[in-house]
Amino acid sequence: MSLNASLQSRFRQALLDPETAVPPEVTSWNGSDPAQRFAVYRNNVTVSLIEALGATFPTVKAMVGEDFFRDMARVYLRAHPPSSPMMVRFGESFPDFLAGFAPVATLAYLPDLARLEAARRRAFHAADAASLSPEDFASLDPAALPGLVVTLHPSLQVFSARHAAVSLWAAHQGQGALEAVDPHVPEEALILRPIYEVDIVPLPLGGASFFDDLRAGYPLGEAATRLAPEAAAHLPLLINTLVQSGVTISYAIQKDTGP
């Protein structure tokens, strides 16, 4: 760090990197060691950020254990301190960090699990909107269904992972045995917050791109034809999810459904 750097630049550097000397302007009234007093700030910053990260990624923390998580979080926060006072965004880059963090390379599912927890947080803080209930679809003419164009809930996170992050997360909440989960199986889900609680709705494989298509404005009929062959059989289930899960907030019927 340049000697010309401002006091706060050097203060900041020394907070995040214990190898950096405390700025020489820092002093104490009684001649006691300024570095030892400075350590209070260093500790406040580090501990509060580790706690914030642990609160956002409780399942990742449970998977690796408290001590390991703390050490890993310390490495992360030094490289990626929060970029904004919006602490509800701190850790958005944590999944990517995990994907490149050698000590957890054997836990290949960990980045996907972190992505799921980050998506849950985004859903929790997303904008409010009133979901349609199944009755709201009751008057629809089945013949018009191919032209159905939907608006999906603003909290919706379409989740698709190469590992069984959904099952692992569920097992950690006490839904199913952890040992029974094969982590190396791809999984997809809708993550959304119809009212206040975040729901995770598992999807058959191929379902994620179906909901991506609907959100992009494809009419139902066209989205159905775009389904991967192995997912086509699940169309009734996907439509059921569209109607039952609260993911839809409004719809319109597009008359011309041709390409």
């Binding site: 006091l7 630049s9 302007e25 009234w29 910053v45 929790f124 803080h125």
Partner: protein, 302 residues
């Protein structure tokens, strides 16, 4: 979840505006914690106002904002910022200020306050209230930032005295003179954190009662009380940590009493942010602060 569905339809509000006076009442309030929501609603009479950290309510929707809407119907509100970095070397984060302005507009709080501290530098937000040097360049910058906040929010803000663990060689102002000068130039009000007075006075070898005696109490519109933790510096001197993780320390109550003797009864917050206790414990602390206020009021009348 404990918020009924209909609460999500609460919009903005200006609510409370007719029901509560525009300033915080001379009562004790508590920092709102989500786990206390139900009891707080059921025992609203025990609590004079609530305070929340603005940054926890800057999401787009969901439970936190719905709860705050419901609470706003029942309590005067103190909105307390922790992320503006008013003491920072860089200009204020205008995006953050805009988020704050939206919150102020929606919830019409009785008070908005922030800290004499910095937390952001070179685009890193450090999630702590860091100390500033009390010198002329810092003073000019803090005044400029307070000005900007007040003109953006179109209201007076309260500036809080900090708890600090180190001092700076270049400081040329006494902390109280620095704060008084910021208030004089910017027109801001002051939030006097009495626990911070105990922490900083102890950490810098000063007499906390003298601090209260010298403080410009006529500008104080809110008081904070909280618990500190205790350590030692390298010479074995007491080093108090502003931990907000315990009851108000017994030696802070006499300091509060000395403060009230100068200010008269004034809105007083019990701050307890870590190892948060049951609601009943907070309500008891609040009642103790109100008893101190009543004693001062009756003493003054006698």
């Amino acid at each position: 979840m404990t918020v009924p569905r209909h609460l999500s339809s609460f919009g903005a509000e200006g609510f409370g505006a007719g029901r509560f006076p525009p300033e915080l009442p001379a009562r004790a309030g508590i920092g709102f914690k989500p786990q206390h929501f139900d009891e707080l609603i059921a025992q609203a009479h025990r609590i004079g106002f609530i305070e929340v950290h603005a940054e926890n309510y800057m999401g787009d929707g969901g439970l936190p904002l719905a709860r705050l809407s419901a609470l706003r119907e029942r309590f005067p509100l103190s909105l307390h910022g922790v992320g503006l970095s008013i003491g920072g070397e860089a200009p204020l984060n205008e995006e953050h200020l805009a988020r704050l302005a939206r919150l102020v507009e929606r919830f019409a709080p009785q008070s908005f306050s922030e800290h004499l501290a910095w937390s952001t530098h070179d685009d890193a937000y450090l999630n702590d209230l860091l100390p500033v040097a009390y010198d002329a360049p810092t003073l000019a910058r803090v005044v400029e930032h307070v000005d900007r906040v007040q003109s953006r929010l179109k209201r007076q803000m309260l500036l809080e005295n900090p708890s600090t663990y180190v001092a700076f060689r270049q400081s040329s102002y006494d902390e109280i003179d620095f704060i008084r000068e910021v208030a004089r130039r910017s027109g801001c009000g002051l939030l006097l954190d009495v626990n911070n007075v105990m922490v900083s006075a102890t950490n810098h070898g000063r007499n906390p009662f003298q601090y209260i005696k010298d403080f410009p109490v006529e500008l104080v519109k809110e008081i904070h009380l909280g618990g500190y933790a205790e350590a030692q510096d390298s010479l074995g001197a007491r080093l108090l940590i502003d931990a907000h993780d315990s009851a108000v320390a017994e030696d802070v109550w006499p300091l509060y009493r000395a403060t009230l003797a100068r200010t008269g009864p004034v809105a007083t917050l019990i701050e307890w942010d870590n190892d948060v206790p049951d609601f009943a414990v907070l309500a008891t602390e609040a009642a103790r602060a109100e008893a101190e206020m009543r004693a001062i009021a009756s003493g003054a009348a006698a």
